[in-house]
Amino acid sequence: MTIIVQKVTQMMCGIIFLYGIYIIVHGHLTPGGGFAGGTIIAGSFILLVIAFGSEFLTLKKEETGSSLLESGAILVFLAIAAAGLLIGGVGIFFVNFLPKGTVGSLISAGIIPLFNIAIGIEVAAALLTIFLALLIYKEEST
């Protein structure tokens, strides 16, 4: 890619990444949430890969890493959901066991922000893995 594209990408990427994090963290207050934020974060990484390209080996390493991160994040999601089975002795799957706080403040809504963060990481890693897998396949097969 040309130098212009690379410079612009360099400037924009961090902002896009931060915006994704903002969307995830404010998921229970404003539109958006784990899915939207995660996709935006994945988008920022994909932009970087497209603009700068990358060594084949680095791509392979990134793919393994993001795939592991994805599995880990969704395992955490399941663990938080299943924790409800053990906490409080009532045995309810997906119970919101943390204090709810006041509606509208950043630290509120119990486990919902935790779910948002786990889902955000999972979605970002998942989309990045799909993209990298396609890219690696195209390089490998030629």
């Binding site: 207050l29 404003t30 899915f35 509606v103 509208g104 979605v123 396609l134 195209k138």
Partner: protein, 112 residues
């Protein structure tokens, strides 16, 4: 009523693409279009006249909200659609590398 009918027409256009087209990418696009029309259909069902997005504002004013449940359903459906499309595209590119064409008739011919 017209809006629902147009939405179903979009669904039928997608169905036409899947059934009549013989190009793998076109078939994927057809499935995706059907997916979009169903998403739109669910959201149309959930719309309430004069309603606003179901987000409580800081001023605490009472408003009419649109139905949040179809929105949650459509969010799920979008992600499912993304998953299906990604898997279909992966298989399509794999088939392309094997046969050097996206056309399903050519693929059948080459397979013999």
């Amino acid at each position: 009523m017209t809006i629902y009918l147009l939405c179903i027409a979009l669904f039928l256009v997608g169905l036409y693409g899947v059934v009549a087209k013989r190009n793998l990418i076109k078939m994927v696009i057809g499935i995706a279009i059907m997916e979009y029309s169903i998403n739109l259909f669910l959201i149309l069902i959930g719309y309430v006249k004069g309603g606003t997005a179901p987000i409580l504002s800081a001023d605490g004013a009472q408003r009419i909200f649109v139905d949040p449940l179809p929105q949650a359903m459509v969010l799920t459906a979008i992600v499912i659609g993304l998953a299906t499309t990604a898997l279909l595209l992966a298989i399509a590119i794999r088939l392309y590398k094997k046969y050097n064409t996206f056309d399903i008739r050519e693929i059948k011919k080459l397979k013999g």
